[in-house]
Structures are given as C-alpha cells and as structure tokens.
Symmetry: C2
Amino acid sequence: MPKLRVQCFAVSLDGYGAGPSQSLENPLGVGGMKLHEWFVTTRTFRQMFGQEGGETGIDNDFAARGIANVGAWILGRNMFGPVRGPWPNDEWKGWWGANPPYHCDVFVLTHHPRDPLRMEGGTMFHFVTEGIETALNRAMEAAKGKDVRLGGGVATIQQYLRAGLVDELHLAVSPVLLGAGEALFQGVDLPSQGYRCVEHTPSPKATHVILARSER
Amino acid sequence: MPKLRVQCFAVSLDGYGAGPSQSLENPLGVGGMKLHEWFVTTRTFRQMFGQEGGETGIDNDFAARGIANVGAWILGRNMFGPVRGPWPNDEWKGWWGANPPYHCDVFVLTHHPRDPLRMEGGTMFHFVTEGIETALNRAMEAAKGKDVRLGGGVATIQQYLRAGLVDELHLAVSPVLLGAGEALFQGVDLPSQGYRCVEHTPSPKATHVILARSER
C-alpha cells in the first residue's frame, strides 16, 4: 500500500526544522541552511539539480531513499515560496527555477486558489484549497501506486501528524543549534500516536532516524 | 579556570531530558531509562558502581570524560529523590544506596533546609537553600580547582543556562521518542547565549555533541 512519507527532513539539535524569519534571502529561515549540509554535498542532491559529482555514503543513501518510489509531493505554501495572502499574479513559480527537482505532480496547500502551473522537466504544481486530506487523496491518485512525499515545512508536517496520516518520517538531526524557529516536536506526542524509532544510522554529518508506526 | 559542565546528559529525539511522572518506580520518568542505554552498558558506568566488564568505545569515552577532573557536583532536588516539600526526616538518602557514585561533595538545590549527609565512599550531600549561584560558589570551593559537574535535571540545567553559568554541555541524543516530559531546549535560546556545537561524535547508540561558549 502506498505510503505518505516525510524524507530528508533536517532538524537541529534543539528541534527546529527551520530557522526564524523566512524570506527571499533565507528560504529556510535565518540559519536554516546549516541544517542541510549533510544533504547538499551528496551525489543525489547534485543529480537532482543536473550536476555531476557529489559524495556517496550514508548521507547519500538516505538522500537517494528520499526520492525512490516517490510519485507525488505535498508542500506547505511556505515551502513553495515567501508570498503570503492571495496570489497577486502568476509571477512566483517556486524557489527552484524553471526546472524544479520534483519531476512529478506537486500539491501545494494554500487558502488561495490558483491555476495549476506546468514547469519544465515534468513538474506540475497544483494549488489545493480544500485541506490536507484532499491534497493527500489527489496526491495518492497522481502517484499511481507509488508513495507520496510530504516535503514540509514544520506546520504542514504537524498537521498531517495530528491527523494520523503520516506513515514514516526520515529525520536527519544536524549538529547545529538554531535557538528559535519552527519546533517540529512541539505539541506533537509521537509515541502516543504509535510512532517509534525503527532505524538509527549516524553519519559524521547527521544522525539519520526513521520514525514509523505499525498501524495505519 | 575550573568549569561548570553538564556531562552525559541524555535527551530523546524529541528533546526530552526525562520522561513524565517521576516516581520511586521511575526515577527518570516514564520511559526515561531508555535514554541511558548508551551509558549503562559502558565500562565506566559499571566501574562507578563497582562492577566489572562493560563496553569500551565512543560511548565509554564520553562516559569517562564525564567524571574526569570533576571535583564536585550540583543536583536539582528531583535528581536526589522523589520527596517534595519539607524533608519529613532523614530517611531518604538519594537513589544510589549507601555508597553513591559521586565520591565527592554534592550540592543539592532545595527550598527546604536539611543537615549535610555523609555517605560511604567519600560522597557528602549538602542541601543548599540559597539559590543556584550560592550552590555554584560552594561547589567550586569544594572542587579545589577541578571542574563542577551539573547533574541535572532539566529544570536545574535550564536555570543555570538562563543565568549564563554553564561552560560546556555534553548531550547524548538517544534514538528514542518520549513524546512528553521535560523539554531541555524549550524556552532556552542557546545560540543567542553564545553556545554552538563544537564537537559531534555519533555512536551506534547515541549522538554525542558538545555545546560550548567562548566567553564566560
């Protein structure tokens, strides 16, 4: 049965999935890029952006698992961009340029309707105003039997967690302190929802853990 | 210059330094023992309790650093025991039996006066009612040039952190979820106080990090 998976989601030692004050200059909030140092050096990351080289090993293995068997994505609006409120026009097309690294259907949660946006390389952004369950149903349909990846950010993951809809989370705990930002675990009691740590693989750059529940 | 150090302090993936509902049966709160699996198997831990054997390696290295050059300890009252309010009598002598693993002066923070308590093996418990700075001054004096170890729990560490008095923290992030309990990082902004991660050494059982500040 296809899963809803969080993958390659980096958190700081103090539990933040993004820094404070997201902006055009700091898409991941102030200091947020430091969370992803384990990731941006991997071969998989570089391939996603059409580049050669990159490191192999534990970090790359998890990066590769993050895109394996993924048929569609769900993103919170803030992961799509810094625009807030109604869409003023179609100018903002995501953080990733003309050819985003998704290459499949991506469902963006928003309160403000917008027409779908076809990008190069097979990525199609759909804007879903009917809530997280509708987005999940549409993504599952689009994924055609593959899994759906829940990209983030923190608020979006927490919504899906509270609704009991996430099958698996891969977190990468990065050896940095952020001190403020979006706290992934705050107000979410994972063990009481049946999650436990089923895999623990540290690398020199991050500690990779898989959290999963038995039932769905 | 002698330091105030937090050592071997285990936190869960979701940031809890102890589970909920501390009691005589669960000194570390429900589920809290799982935090310390990396520690209780080490040679150093076994030696502290007069036992043979135990594992060597990364976890043991950090366990050994935790007691090296430590001349005195500070504990919050809940780390000393489950008794709350005024001390009804001298019956409670700590969690550790007649010969506690400290073998030096230990300063217990409490609002309720109590006479010092001499134990076997060189441990002497002092009960400090004059606040955290007095406890630190007395511990530094007793340590005679060695460092003072701040044992915990979370509330005590947070008090010393907020007062800017902690020089170094060694945390062991254990691959478990607690879901509730005492959240070490909540309401404490470490980077804004000058702390950063200066060492990151994962083992198969825990991710060891040292957080330190340059100034004091």
